[in-house]
Symmetry: D2
Subunit: 388 residues, 4 copies
């Protein structure tokens, strides 16, 4: 089975991957942030760039915002701006790691004033969700400590639960809270939500609308990520993905760039567990284009997800089941590799054209003149980055 | 605060660490198992060796058995033998990794005949528990796969839950099921219970008498183990420890040998979470003395746990709280380091003597002639190892 | 560029990958070695199986031997046996990790008697090389220690150099010594040759005929292996590869099974550095087929290397250079990914047929009846494993 | 042996640890740099802070500078300022990671203009060394790539060698070049000097005055660092240490904070290899005090090195040799642990007082009022950080 069927293509046609507004701003390492010509100066320009990705791929129908980086006076205007460009406003990401008050914690802080402030920040995020029509509040908890003894990890865990309950109570309608876990960084000794187990235990105590966000770069070396995908889907607690890739730590490279076969296995488990094109499981990117161009970096990323989904759809389930049931290790593995090694790109290019999209979105973007235009136009102002 | 108080000593006097019978048999790597003179030939001799550890330390009041390695015709006789030597029979460990049928799984196997056999093995283990008076059935699930595609990880997870439910249903009275997780090995692609989150989710679905076993060597590189200790205690699901230490993988070295400060932090969280001398949290060793002498290896191990518990008890809680509340990172860390760097050994030696124990158990054992005696006596027969 | 040219095919036609005799014997983990029907009972049968791999692929023209596992009375007879089956005897692998004397070291041992014995074992290996016509003596130094303090690492390093000099001095003609490094296992604290730097420093001190062997499974998590390939080729010290793959430690899985893109990058650096089809750089497998069938496991492996070499040959060097020189990160990466994602399998199948080989060697082997024949014939005797 | 002898104390009296000027400036992660009251605004104030560390400990006789962060108009004035405060100017650290031109490389860049600029920067650093009287030029090569294919790793290696030769040629008298290696960051796919082997191969090709700098935080997970210390000392190529500690990546925490036993083992190998108080082996710190106070953070660090050196000096060499020669694993390990667990702090406190130093330098600094003074005085200006 080496050709995508019309069913496969219909499945692929439904796929949508949310883009992070911050991917269009400058980013870097602690050593240096290199600026790029044409970088957006405000949320409107970020959304314009995101829409450009969608225009060439039809794969990126929404944009996640980060508060306060994407704060605007008029969210209705921002929403109209987005919709006018053919994209929706998506997940709202909170930020409790850049205020001076949060140096030693936010939702986990022992100082009730600071903890209150952090909770209130999340309530404000929910207000913004109400205005933007966003469904998901994503909380990446960048809290922890650098030295053994610095904090009481147990008490922080309890305070975290209390804080989350207060935030959760404010959600309404279809709104959801998704809690992201991360192995380490910016803290170097302990992180308050370091693994899926902690995120799961915390959200399970909240209720059905609280779920786990899995960032593919947030695990210990050697972790079998597709296993976690399987488990969270099984436990009905996988709320969203932050896709990216890594060789070492949280490198935030283009999804599929570091270990394409891992991405294949992850998507395979998503399909196996009913998570593909399931509105309950949001696909998002969370990447840093430190040295490469940002818009084509995002185009490349959504294409990588699409192409890998196509490969995963090609897996011959019947042959796989048969080999698994026969304990035929080599045959079962061969079923996977056959699909993985199938070159779906020519067929996808044709299919894109049939839908009025460019066969090669990367080339189409390069030829569009958009990059040159923004480089020329976006003069003055302050380039967006992780502070705005 | 650099001296152990009488309260501390009273606490230390209660400490008991269960020894694994298999630590007295030969072990090694896939490359080679080196035999040692005096190695036990049967469970009776293993228990005799374990009792020797307890005789010199008063720290090892019980011995864990491994079925089928420690199968005997008459468990009542084995129990009397143990009790006559001053030790109890403890946890029963099942084994589903050495039978030809289990090559591709046991409690997770798609073949119902094999899965039934594996469940029945556990029921037999519970029968043995009834005979030995053991409280805990420990399940280390050595199941998994070596190649992507080899197995349906999701279906295995469901079958595992079903198998565990059948086993759990057979427990009676005070009996408990503890489920151990392990990052990898003997499987190299996926392991069915690879992390604490999976073990937690599996036992939470069973009931109050199902708990997690934390083996200190079963984590990904860089994992903050004391965080997991804290979390499992908080979730009331930490059933037992398998202590050992590691530099790389599951090295099964003497506890405290690789990273003594990590052991200190782990015990500190045990104390913080109410797990010390709490009958619900069993302290056990799981080590391999591949190249060092086994009995002194076990003596060294229980002493390491005792000494580190003493250091952890010395932590000045009030000073720590004060520093934590003041966000004084250096001061908080210093409270821990002060305790860690305090040399508790002279005081512990004195205290041991005051209790009729040798000041230096290692030297006392060496002087006892026991090693020479067993080396001379245990001639003929087959030395115990991981097959018996 | 998505089609293999005749130049590419001519290059592929030259490719040869040496098989390890021990891959056909039983192997496993410290927990269990599962036997398989048809496993060879002696070196002659191992070579017959290796020849079967070559018969279906024309990719495996030689077989590495392991001494003492493959000791025979008459090496000339073994050589004739191999040549009669169309394969040559290749690298001789020494073994200093299974003799009781080597429990604490061999070529590094402080006891001169034991060190002498280990050196003499290598001299005997060279005698065998003289008889078999082998060029390379491969030394995997399984020596080290489990506990800090156990050994004087520095003195061992000096003794190792002395031992190697004595062995090196015995080489003649085209013979070479290749020194393998390994991150850990079977030792758990220190290994005497743990990294490429140590192997390089040791062989550089010997002379031009001493080189490094790179086993792709012998590195720390996250290591950029293709960088080491590049560096060793640059330093003219890459003597040979032991191909396999890994998710965690030295898993010894089928090459290309865990991270195919990594294998692609490794072969790309081999080509870049002039190491492909260069007689100075031997391609070998070192794998353990613990649960899968051994002969098809080896067929799959050599095919993986061949297919990945084909993909690497497809890299458009000119486009790559241009993108690199333009600092066009995305374009440069795309050149690699284009080649990697090209499905070379149909063309390779055709090409195989054009050379009188089966289009699908896996299927051809399955259809050949060989497996059934050896399962039926090889009854009685002792199956080969890591002890013979 | 649990008491420091007068020989030990004489050895300790010679110990000097160089402080990095940048440790006194603000630092953080890519997510946030938190400022602190009293942070220096220029190199003169940094040196004043460093001198304060030395005043309380007599352990920090020199300060490393970082160019361009510590550029001044008059280095003679800076030198007099330092000497007036009782400290010397030490190693000059170059910086080729913050200029826009160096986005894709510096000493390795394919663009000859940029490579020339980077070489010239190093020549300028040597000019500064001439003015400051510094002996060592330290090169941390923050160069690499983020995506496979982005660069030609081999050509970069050759260009690096050429660049280093040009820099090396400019050294005079006692001056040395030390080349630091780092596993990853700021690059995420490949780093041009990622391991000790590469640094060694590069400096060995330069000459006797080119050496390796070992930063204790720059290794893959699980790396046995003391082995590398041993090997570099054996190869006469260990030029300097950058001390710090880590749990995950290059965390740059206080030396000895994460794994004190590892620090003990490292210093033990330094002593074993003749590197203690050997002018050829410079002890330096390279740390980031992101959340803790900077001056006491440095005081704590040099004390940690001093205390651990004291423990390492206590190792009973004769007993260790005897145990090693007897293959008595437990006894040999015990010799190390005995020294490690000895509480040297009381004796060191006494000894400090006998030398006119505060028994407790941390307390003495806190009581000195210096921190309050600089917090009050250093108002206005721009706090120093990694840009100045």
């Amino acid at each position: 089975m080496s050709t995508l069927t019309s069913d496969h293509l219909a499945t692929l046609a439904q796929q949508g991957i949310e883009l992070p507004s911050w991917a269009f701003g400058n980013s870097g390492t602690r050593f240096r942030v290199f600026p790029t010509a044409g970088t957006p100066r405000d949320p409107f320009e970020k959304i314009a760039d995101a829409a450009e990705v969608n225009r060439h791929t039809a794969l990126a129908p929404s944009v996640a915002l980060h508060i306060p980086w994407d704060k605007v006076d008029d969210y209705a205007a921002l929403r109209r701006h987005a919709e006018g460009l053919g994209v929706a406003l998506g997940t709202i990401n909170s930020n409790t790691f850049q205020d001076e008050d949060y140096k030693f914690g936010a939702l986990t802080h022992h100082d009730e004033r600071i903890r209150r402030k952090a909770i209130d920040h999340h309530l404000e995020c929910i207000d913004i969700m109400d205005a933007t029509g966003s469904r998901d509040l994503k909380i990446w908890l960048a809290e922890g400590s650098n030295y053994p003894g610095q904090n009481d990890m147990r008490a922080r865990q309890d305070r975290l639960q209390d804080s989350l309950q207060q935030i959760y109570a404010r959600l309404s309608g279809e709104q959801r809270l998704v809690l992201e876990y991360k192995f380490f960084e910016p803290s170097f000794y302990h992180t308050d939500v370091p693994d899926w187990g902690t995120s799961y235990a915390q959200v399970a105590a909240l209720g059905d609308c609280a779920l786990v966000c899995l960032d593919t770069g947030h695990h210990a070396p050697g972790t079998n990520i597709e296993f976690i995908v399987m488990q969270l889907l099984r436990l009905r607690k996988l709320g969203s993905f932050d896709f990216n890739s890594r060789f070492y730590a949280d490198d935030d490279l283009i999804v599929g760039a570091a270990d394409p076969f891992q991405l294949f296995r992850i998507i395979l488990e998503v399909i196996r567990g009913g998570g593909l094109n399931n509105p309950d499981v949001a696909f998002m990117l969370d990447q840093c284009h430190n040295i490469e161009d940002k818009i084509p970096g995002q185009i490349r990323s959504v294409l990588n997800v699409q192409e890998m989904t196509a490969r995963a759809l090609l897996v011959d389930r019947d042959a796989l089941d048969a080999a698994q049931n026969a304990n035929d290790v080599l045959a079962a593995n061969a079923v996977l590799m056959d699909a993985f090694y199938t070159d779906v790109r020519p067929q996808l290019a044709q299919w894109r054209e049939s839908r009025g999209l460019p066969a090669d979105p990367m080339a189409a973007y390069a030829a569009s003149g958009y990059q040159q235009r923004i480089a020329a136009d976006r003069v003055g102002g302050t380039q967006a980055g992780w502070g705005a």
